[in-house]
Subunit: 223 residues, 2 copies
Amino acid sequence: MKEFKTIEVKRSIFEDNDADAGRLRKELKEEGTFLLNLMSSPGAGKTATLKRTIEALKDEFRIGVMEADIDSDVDARAISETGVRAIQIHTGGMCHLDADMTRQGIREFGTKDLELVVLENVGNLVCPAEFDTGSTKNAMILSVPEGDDKPLKYPLMFSICDVVLINKCDTLSVFDDFSKEAVKERILKLNPKAEVIYISAKTGEGFEEWLRWLRKEIREYRM
Amino acid sequence: MKEFKTIEVKRSIFEDNDADAGRLRKELKEEGTFLLNLMSSPGAGKTATLKRTIEALKDEFRIGVMEADIDSDVDARAISETGVRAIQIHTGGMCHLDADMTRQGIREFGTKDLELVVLENVGNLVCPAEFDTGSTKNAMILSVPEGDDKPLKYPLMFSICDVVLINKCDTLSVFDDFSKEAVKERILKLNPKAEVIYISAKTGEGFEEWLRWLRKEIREYRM
Protein backbone atom coordinates (compact mmCIF):
# COMPACT_ATOMS: atom_id res chain seq x y z
CA MET A 1 0.00 0.00 0.00
CA LYS A 2 1.26 3.44 -0.93
CA GLU A 3 1.70 5.57 2.19
CA PHE A 4 2.29 8.90 0.51
CA LYS A 5 0.71 11.24 -1.98
CA THR A 6 2.37 12.30 -5.25
CA ILE A 7 1.81 15.78 -6.60
CA GLU A 8 2.87 17.32 -9.88
CA VAL A 9 4.06 20.87 -9.36
CA LYS A 10 3.86 23.54 -12.03
CA ARG A 11 6.56 25.96 -12.99
CA SER A 12 6.38 29.23 -11.09
CA ILE A 13 4.38 32.12 -12.49
CA PHE A 14 6.38 34.60 -10.44
CA GLU A 15 9.15 36.45 -12.18
CA ASP A 16 10.85 37.45 -8.98
CA ASN A 17 11.68 34.20 -7.25
CA ASP A 18 13.76 35.89 -4.55
CA ALA A 19 10.84 38.03 -3.40
CA ASP A 20 8.53 35.03 -3.47
CA ALA A 21 11.03 32.97 -1.45
CA GLY A 22 11.09 35.76 1.14
CA ARG A 23 7.27 35.61 1.37
CA LEU A 24 7.29 31.83 1.83
CA ARG A 25 9.98 32.10 4.51
CA LYS A 26 7.80 34.60 6.39
CA GLU A 27 4.72 32.35 6.13
CA LEU A 28 6.69 29.38 7.47
CA LYS A 29 8.12 31.44 10.32
CA GLU A 30 4.60 32.40 11.39
CA GLU A 31 3.64 28.72 11.45
CA GLY A 32 6.84 27.80 13.30
CA THR A 33 7.81 25.30 10.60
CA PHE A 34 11.55 24.93 10.01
CA LEU A 35 12.18 24.09 6.35
CA LEU A 36 15.50 22.43 5.55
CA ASN A 37 16.44 22.37 1.86
CA LEU A 38 18.71 19.35 1.32
CA MET A 39 20.74 19.29 -1.88
CA SER A 40 23.46 17.13 -3.48
CA SER A 41 24.56 15.31 -6.62
CA PRO A 42 22.64 12.17 -7.53
CA GLY A 43 23.73 9.36 -5.25
CA ALA A 44 25.57 11.38 -2.59
CA GLY A 45 23.33 9.92 0.09
CA LYS A 46 20.50 12.40 0.72
CA THR A 47 17.88 9.75 1.45
CA ALA A 48 20.17 7.56 3.60
CA THR A 49 21.28 10.60 5.64
CA LEU A 50 17.69 11.68 6.02
CA LYS A 51 16.52 8.25 7.18
CA ARG A 52 19.14 8.15 9.93
CA THR A 53 18.37 11.76 10.91
CA ILE A 54 14.66 11.00 11.18
CA GLU A 55 15.25 7.91 13.30
CA ALA A 56 17.23 10.06 15.75
CA LEU A 57 14.82 13.01 15.88
CA LYS A 58 11.33 11.65 15.33
CA ASP A 59 10.50 11.51 19.03
CA GLU A 60 11.70 15.10 19.55
CA PHE A 61 10.10 16.91 16.61
CA ARG A 62 7.06 16.45 14.38
CA ILE A 63 8.76 15.80 11.04
CA GLY A 64 7.60 15.75 7.43
CA VAL A 65 9.57 15.07 4.25
CA MET A 66 8.95 16.36 0.74
CA GLU A 67 10.78 14.29 -1.87
CA ALA A 68 11.37 16.14 -5.12
CA ASP A 69 12.18 14.05 -8.15
CA ILE A 70 11.82 14.34 -11.86
CA ASP A 71 10.25 10.93 -11.87
CA SER A 72 9.77 7.87 -9.66
CA ASP A 73 8.81 7.61 -6.00
CA VAL A 74 11.73 5.49 -4.78
CA ASP A 75 12.71 8.01 -2.11
CA ALA A 76 9.23 8.83 -0.77
CA ARG A 77 8.68 5.10 -0.35
CA ALA A 78 11.96 4.76 1.61
CA ILE A 79 11.09 7.71 3.85
CA SER A 80 7.52 6.62 4.53
CA GLU A 81 8.98 3.40 6.00
CA THR A 82 10.44 5.48 8.85
CA GLY A 83 6.91 6.34 9.94
CA VAL A 84 7.06 10.10 9.32
CA ARG A 85 4.78 11.85 6.87
CA ALA A 86 6.16 12.01 3.34
CA ILE A 87 5.02 13.47 0.05
CA GLN A 88 6.45 12.94 -3.41
CA ILE A 89 6.81 16.02 -5.60
CA HIS A 90 7.23 15.50 -9.33
CA THR A 91 8.88 18.43 -11.05
CA GLY A 92 7.77 17.52 -14.56
CA GLY A 93 11.31 17.34 -15.91
CA MET A 94 12.48 20.48 -14.11
CA CYS A 95 15.96 20.28 -12.65
CA HIS A 96 15.25 22.27 -9.50
CA LEU A 97 12.50 23.64 -7.27
CA ASP A 98 11.77 27.35 -6.97
CA ALA A 99 9.85 29.02 -4.14
CA ASP A 100 6.44 28.68 -5.73
CA MET A 101 6.93 24.99 -6.54
CA THR A 102 7.99 24.52 -2.91
CA ARG A 103 4.88 26.39 -1.74
CA GLN A 104 2.66 24.13 -3.88
CA GLY A 105 4.24 21.16 -2.10
CA ILE A 106 3.95 22.78 1.35
CA ARG A 107 0.25 23.66 0.87
CA GLU A 108 -0.70 20.28 -0.52
CA PHE A 109 1.25 18.55 2.23
CA GLY A 110 -0.22 20.69 5.04
CA THR A 111 2.69 21.60 7.29
CA LYS A 112 1.01 23.72 9.98
CA ASP A 113 1.39 21.00 12.61
CA LEU A 114 4.97 20.12 11.63
CA GLU A 115 8.09 21.47 13.33
CA LEU A 116 10.67 20.24 10.84
CA VAL A 117 10.06 19.78 7.13
CA VAL A 118 12.88 18.51 4.95
CA LEU A 119 12.75 19.24 1.26
CA GLU A 120 14.93 16.72 -0.57
CA ASN A 121 15.72 18.67 -3.71
CA VAL A 122 16.43 17.17 -7.17
CA GLY A 123 19.90 15.53 -7.32
CA ASN A 124 21.88 18.26 -9.02
CA LEU A 125 24.81 20.43 -7.91
CA VAL A 126 24.04 23.21 -10.38
CA CYS A 127 20.49 24.44 -10.83
CA PRO A 128 19.04 24.08 -7.30
CA ALA A 129 21.75 26.49 -6.09
CA GLU A 130 20.31 29.22 -8.28
CA PHE A 131 16.78 29.15 -6.88
CA ASP A 132 15.93 30.18 -3.33
CA THR A 133 13.19 27.78 -2.23
CA GLY A 134 12.15 29.86 0.76
CA SER A 135 13.84 27.39 3.10
CA THR A 136 14.94 28.32 6.61
CA LYS A 137 18.37 26.76 6.06
CA ASN A 138 20.21 25.16 3.14
CA ALA A 139 22.14 21.93 3.62
CA MET A 140 24.17 19.99 1.09
CA ILE A 141 25.91 16.65 0.98
CA LEU A 142 29.16 15.99 -0.83
CA SER A 143 30.20 12.35 -0.77
CA VAL A 144 33.81 11.20 -0.61
CA PRO A 145 33.69 9.23 -3.93
CA GLU A 146 32.80 12.45 -5.79
CA GLY A 147 36.22 13.94 -5.05
CA ASP A 148 37.59 16.86 -3.05
CA ASP A 149 37.74 19.21 -6.07
CA LYS A 150 33.97 19.75 -6.27
CA PRO A 151 33.94 23.13 -4.47
CA LEU A 152 36.19 24.42 -7.27
CA LYS A 153 33.80 23.22 -9.94
CA TYR A 154 30.40 23.96 -8.40
CA PRO A 155 31.19 27.04 -6.29
CA LEU A 156 27.69 28.50 -6.11
CA MET A 157 26.22 25.45 -4.38
CA PHE A 158 28.91 25.52 -1.70
CA SER A 159 28.46 29.28 -1.29
CA ILE A 160 24.76 29.22 -0.47
CA CYS A 161 24.73 26.37 2.06
CA ASP A 162 24.66 26.84 5.82
CA VAL A 163 25.98 23.35 6.41
CA VAL A 164 27.98 20.95 4.21
CA LEU A 165 27.92 17.27 5.17
CA ILE A 166 30.84 15.25 3.82
CA ASN A 167 29.24 11.80 3.55
CA LYS A 168 30.56 8.25 2.99
CA CYS A 169 33.57 8.95 5.22
CA ASP A 170 33.67 5.18 5.90
CA THR A 171 35.13 4.84 2.36
CA LEU A 172 38.05 7.25 2.85
CA SER A 173 40.54 4.36 2.81
CA VAL A 174 39.26 3.29 -0.63
CA PHE A 175 39.18 6.83 -2.06
CA ASP A 176 42.59 7.69 -0.66
CA ASP A 177 43.14 10.71 -2.90
CA PHE A 178 40.31 12.55 -1.09
CA SER A 179 41.71 15.05 1.38
CA LYS A 180 39.40 16.05 4.25
CA GLU A 181 41.56 19.09 4.90
CA ALA A 182 41.66 20.25 1.26
CA VAL A 183 37.90 19.98 0.79
CA LYS A 184 37.20 21.93 3.98
CA GLU A 185 39.69 24.64 3.05
CA ARG A 186 38.07 25.00 -0.40
CA ILE A 187 34.58 25.22 1.11
CA LEU A 188 35.55 27.79 3.73
CA LYS A 189 37.31 29.91 1.12
CA LEU A 190 33.98 30.18 -0.76
CA ASN A 191 31.83 30.38 2.34
CA PRO A 192 33.62 31.18 5.61
CA LYS A 193 30.45 30.74 7.68
CA ALA A 194 29.68 27.22 6.44
CA GLU A 195 29.58 24.42 8.97
CA VAL A 196 31.51 21.43 7.57
CA ILE A 197 30.72 18.07 9.18
CA TYR A 198 32.19 14.68 8.24
CA ILE A 199 29.63 11.87 8.41
CA SER A 200 28.78 8.38 7.28
CA ALA A 201 25.09 7.66 6.85
CA LYS A 202 26.05 3.99 6.77
CA THR A 203 27.95 3.76 10.08
CA GLY A 204 26.52 6.79 11.88
CA GLU A 205 29.93 8.46 12.20
CA GLY A 206 29.60 12.22 12.76
CA PHE A 207 25.84 12.17 13.33
CA GLU A 208 26.22 13.43 16.88
CA GLU A 209 27.72 16.66 15.55
CA TRP A 210 25.23 16.97 12.69
CA LEU A 211 22.23 16.37 14.97
CA ARG A 212 23.59 18.87 17.49
CA TRP A 213 23.77 21.52 14.75
CA LEU A 214 20.25 20.75 13.48
CA ARG A 215 18.63 20.67 16.93
CA LYS A 216 20.20 24.00 17.85
CA GLU A 217 19.02 25.64 14.62
CA ILE A 218 15.46 24.37 15.01
CA ARG A 219 15.23 25.44 18.66
CA GLU A 220 16.61 28.92 18.02
CA TYR A 221 14.18 29.34 15.11
CA ARG A 222 11.17 28.31 17.16
CA MET A 223 12.02 30.41 20.24
CA MET B 1 52.41 27.46 -18.15
CA LYS B 2 48.82 27.13 -19.24
CA GLU B 3 48.59 24.75 -22.19
CA PHE B 4 44.99 25.42 -23.15
CA LYS B 5 42.67 28.26 -24.04
CA THR B 6 39.56 29.16 -22.08
CA ILE B 7 36.50 30.48 -23.88
CA GLU B 8 33.26 31.85 -22.50
CA VAL B 9 30.31 30.59 -24.54
CA LYS B 10 27.08 32.51 -24.91
CA ARG B 11 23.60 31.13 -24.62
CA SER B 12 22.17 30.04 -27.95
CA ILE B 13 20.19 32.47 -30.03
CA PHE B 14 18.45 29.61 -31.85
CA GLU B 15 15.01 28.68 -30.68
CA ASP B 16 15.08 25.30 -32.34
CA ASN B 17 18.02 23.51 -30.75
CA ASP B 18 17.17 20.18 -32.37
CA ALA B 19 17.40 21.61 -35.88
CA ASP B 20 20.62 23.40 -35.00
CA ALA B 21 22.09 20.19 -33.56
CA GLY B 22 21.24 18.44 -36.83
CA ARG B 23 23.14 21.15 -38.76
CA LEU B 24 26.20 20.82 -36.52
CA ARG B 25 26.14 17.03 -36.88
CA LYS B 26 26.16 17.45 -40.66
CA GLU B 27 29.06 19.92 -40.55
CA LEU B 28 31.10 17.55 -38.38
CA LYS B 29 30.32 14.60 -40.64
CA GLU B 30 31.65 16.54 -43.63
CA GLU B 31 34.88 17.22 -41.73
CA GLY B 32 35.09 13.59 -40.58
CA THR B 33 35.22 14.64 -36.94
CA PHE B 34 33.58 12.22 -34.50
CA LEU B 35 32.12 14.15 -31.55
CA LEU B 36 31.54 12.18 -28.38
CA ASN B 37 29.36 13.91 -25.76
CA LEU B 38 30.36 12.55 -22.35
CA MET B 39 27.94 13.13 -19.48
CA SER B 40 27.60 12.13 -15.82
CA SER B 41 26.94 13.38 -12.29
CA PRO B 42 29.68 15.41 -10.67
CA GLY B 43 32.46 13.08 -9.57
CA ALA B 44 31.45 9.95 -11.50
CA GLY B 45 34.86 9.87 -13.16
CA LYS B 46 34.53 11.57 -16.57
CA THR B 47 38.02 13.05 -16.51
CA ALA B 48 39.74 9.92 -15.16
CA THR B 49 37.97 7.75 -17.77
CA LEU B 50 38.91 10.19 -20.47
CA LYS B 51 42.57 10.29 -19.45
CA ARG B 52 42.88 6.52 -19.66
CA THR B 53 40.97 6.46 -22.96
CA ILE B 54 43.29 9.08 -24.45
CA GLU B 55 46.42 7.22 -23.32
CA ALA B 56 45.15 4.13 -25.15
CA LEU B 57 44.03 5.85 -28.36
CA LYS B 58 46.29 8.84 -28.89
CA ASP B 59 48.59 7.02 -31.31
CA GLU B 60 45.62 5.78 -33.37
CA PHE B 61 43.51 8.93 -33.67
CA ARG B 62 44.09 12.68 -33.61
CA ILE B 63 42.18 13.61 -30.45
CA GLY B 64 40.94 16.85 -28.94
CA VAL B 65 39.02 17.48 -25.73
CA MET B 66 36.58 20.27 -24.88
CA GLU B 67 36.07 20.61 -21.15
CA ALA B 68 32.81 22.32 -20.23
CA ASP B 69 32.52 23.70 -16.73
CA ILE B 70 30.61 26.43 -14.99
CA ASP B 71 33.87 27.61 -13.51
CA SER B 72 37.49 26.49 -12.99
CA ASP B 73 39.91 24.81 -15.37
CA VAL B 74 40.83 21.80 -13.22
CA ASP B 75 39.82 19.31 -15.91
CA ALA B 76 41.39 21.04 -18.91
CA ARG B 77 44.66 21.17 -16.98
CA ALA B 78 44.45 17.41 -16.25
CA ILE B 79 43.71 16.59 -19.88
CA SER B 80 46.42 18.81 -21.32
CA GLU B 81 48.92 16.74 -19.31
CA THR B 82 48.12 13.76 -21.57
CA GLY B 83 49.57 15.70 -24.51
CA VAL B 84 46.36 16.00 -26.57
CA ARG B 85 44.83 19.34 -27.45
CA ALA B 86 42.36 20.65 -24.88
CA ILE B 87 40.14 23.67 -24.53
CA GLN B 88 38.21 24.89 -21.51
CA ILE B 89 34.64 26.06 -22.13
CA HIS B 90 33.01 28.20 -19.46
CA THR B 91 29.23 28.09 -19.60
CA GLY B 92 28.66 31.25 -17.57
CA GLY B 93 26.59 29.48 -14.92
CA MET B 94 24.59 27.42 -17.43
CA CYS B 95 23.95 23.83 -16.39
CA HIS B 96 24.33 22.28 -19.85
CA LEU B 97 25.58 22.90 -23.38
CA ASP B 98 23.26 23.26 -26.35
CA ALA B 99 24.25 22.82 -30.01
CA ASP B 100 25.20 26.44 -30.57
CA MET B 101 27.36 26.60 -27.45
CA THR B 102 29.05 23.41 -28.66
CA ARG B 103 29.58 24.99 -32.08
CA GLN B 104 31.19 28.07 -30.49
CA GLY B 105 33.61 25.70 -28.75
CA ILE B 106 34.24 23.65 -31.92
CA ARG B 107 34.93 26.73 -34.06
CA GLU B 108 37.20 28.37 -31.51
CA PHE B 109 39.01 25.08 -30.97
CA GLY B 110 39.44 24.33 -34.69
CA THR B 111 38.59 20.65 -35.13
CA LYS B 112 39.05 20.15 -38.89
CA ASP B 113 42.23 18.12 -38.40
CA LEU B 114 40.86 16.08 -35.50
CA GLU B 115 39.33 12.61 -35.81
CA LEU B 116 37.91 12.32 -32.30
CA VAL B 117 36.69 15.23 -30.21
CA VAL B 118 35.34 14.54 -26.75
CA LEU B 119 33.02 17.07 -25.18
CA GLU B 120 33.07 16.63 -21.43
CA ASN B 121 29.70 18.12 -20.52
CA VAL B 122 28.81 19.86 -17.24
CA GLY B 123 28.47 17.35 -14.37
CA ASN B 124 24.70 16.99 -14.19
CA LEU B 125 22.34 14.05 -14.81
CA VAL B 126 19.36 16.25 -15.61
CA CYS B 127 19.76 19.23 -17.93
CA PRO B 128 22.40 17.98 -20.41
CA ALA B 129 20.02 15.16 -21.35
CA GLU B 130 17.49 17.70 -22.62
CA PHE B 131 19.78 19.42 -25.11
CA ASP B 132 21.12 17.72 -28.23
CA THR B 133 24.67 19.05 -28.63
CA GLY B 134 25.04 17.86 -32.22
CA SER B 135 27.31 15.05 -31.06
CA THR B 136 27.87 11.92 -33.12
CA LYS B 137 27.27 9.70 -30.08
CA ASN B 138 26.24 10.22 -26.46
CA ALA B 139 28.07 8.45 -23.66
CA MET B 140 27.40 8.59 -19.95
CA ILE B 141 29.09 7.35 -16.83
CA LEU B 142 27.28 6.09 -13.75
CA SER B 143 29.60 5.27 -10.86
CA VAL B 144 28.96 2.44 -8.42
CA PRO B 145 28.86 4.71 -5.31
CA GLU B 146 25.90 6.61 -6.81
CA GLY B 147 23.67 3.56 -6.53
CA ASP B 148 21.86 1.22 -8.89
CA ASP B 149 18.53 3.09 -8.66
CA LYS B 150 19.68 6.05 -10.76
CA PRO B 151 18.03 4.90 -14.03
CA LEU B 152 14.70 5.06 -12.17
CA LYS B 153 15.31 8.63 -11.05
CA TYR B 154 16.99 10.17 -14.10
CA PRO B 155 15.38 8.19 -16.93
CA LEU B 156 15.89 10.72 -19.72
CA MET B 157 19.69 10.68 -19.41
CA PHE B 158 19.78 6.89 -19.65
CA SER B 159 17.34 6.96 -22.59
CA ILE B 160 19.42 9.20 -24.84
CA CYS B 161 22.83 7.55 -24.40
CA ASP B 162 24.37 5.12 -26.88
CA VAL B 163 26.71 3.73 -24.27
CA VAL B 164 26.56 3.67 -20.46
CA LEU B 165 29.82 3.08 -18.62
CA ILE B 166 29.41 1.76 -15.07
CA ASN B 167 32.56 3.13 -13.43
CA LYS B 168 34.40 2.50 -10.13
CA CYS B 169 33.67 -1.24 -10.37
CA ASP B 170 36.78 -1.75 -8.23
CA THR B 171 34.66 -0.53 -5.28
CA LEU B 172 31.81 -3.05 -5.69
CA SER B 173 32.89 -4.90 -2.54
CA VAL B 174 32.54 -1.69 -0.51
CA PHE B 175 29.21 -0.67 -2.07
CA ASP B 176 27.76 -4.14 -1.74
CA ASP B 177 24.14 -3.07 -2.19
CA PHE B 178 24.89 -2.13 -5.83
CA SER B 179 23.61 -4.81 -8.19
CA LYS B 180 25.28 -4.96 -11.61
CA GLU B 181 22.38 -7.02 -12.92
CA ALA B 182 19.67 -4.68 -11.57
CA VAL B 183 21.26 -1.55 -12.98
CA LYS B 184 21.68 -3.12 -16.42
CA GLU B 185 18.10 -4.36 -16.44
CA ARG B 186 16.83 -0.87 -15.52
CA ILE B 187 18.94 0.77 -18.24
CA LEU B 188 17.87 -1.69 -20.94
CA LYS B 189 14.22 -1.28 -20.00
CA LEU B 190 14.53 2.45 -20.75
CA ASN B 191 16.86 2.04 -23.71
CA PRO B 192 17.08 -1.46 -25.20
CA LYS B 193 19.83 -0.45 -27.65
CA ALA B 194 22.19 0.94 -25.01
CA GLU B 195 25.60 -0.66 -24.64
CA VAL B 196 26.31 -1.19 -20.93
CA ILE B 197 29.98 -1.66 -20.03
CA TYR B 198 31.44 -2.16 -16.54
CA ILE B 199 34.75 -0.36 -16.05
CA SER B 200 37.19 1.01 -13.53
CA ALA B 201 39.12 4.08 -14.63
CA LYS B 202 41.42 3.39 -11.70
CA THR B 203 42.40 -0.21 -12.49
CA GLY B 204 41.66 -0.32 -16.22
CA GLU B 205 39.06 -3.10 -15.82
CA GLY B 206 36.66 -3.21 -18.77
CA PHE B 207 38.61 -0.75 -20.91
CA GLU B 208 39.25 -3.38 -23.58
CA GLU B 209 35.50 -3.62 -24.21
CA TRP B 210 34.94 0.16 -24.03
CA LEU B 211 37.82 0.90 -26.42
CA ARG B 212 36.59 -1.79 -28.81
CA TRP B 213 33.17 -0.10 -28.90
CA LEU B 214 34.65 3.37 -29.42
CA ARG B 215 37.13 2.31 -32.13
CA LYS B 216 34.38 0.54 -34.05
CA GLU B 217 32.05 3.55 -33.89
CA ILE B 218 34.77 5.99 -35.04
CA ARG B 219 35.86 3.75 -37.91
CA GLU B 220 32.31 3.16 -39.17
CA TYR B 221 31.63 6.89 -38.99
CA ARG B 222 34.73 7.81 -40.97
CA MET B 223 34.31 5.14 -43.66
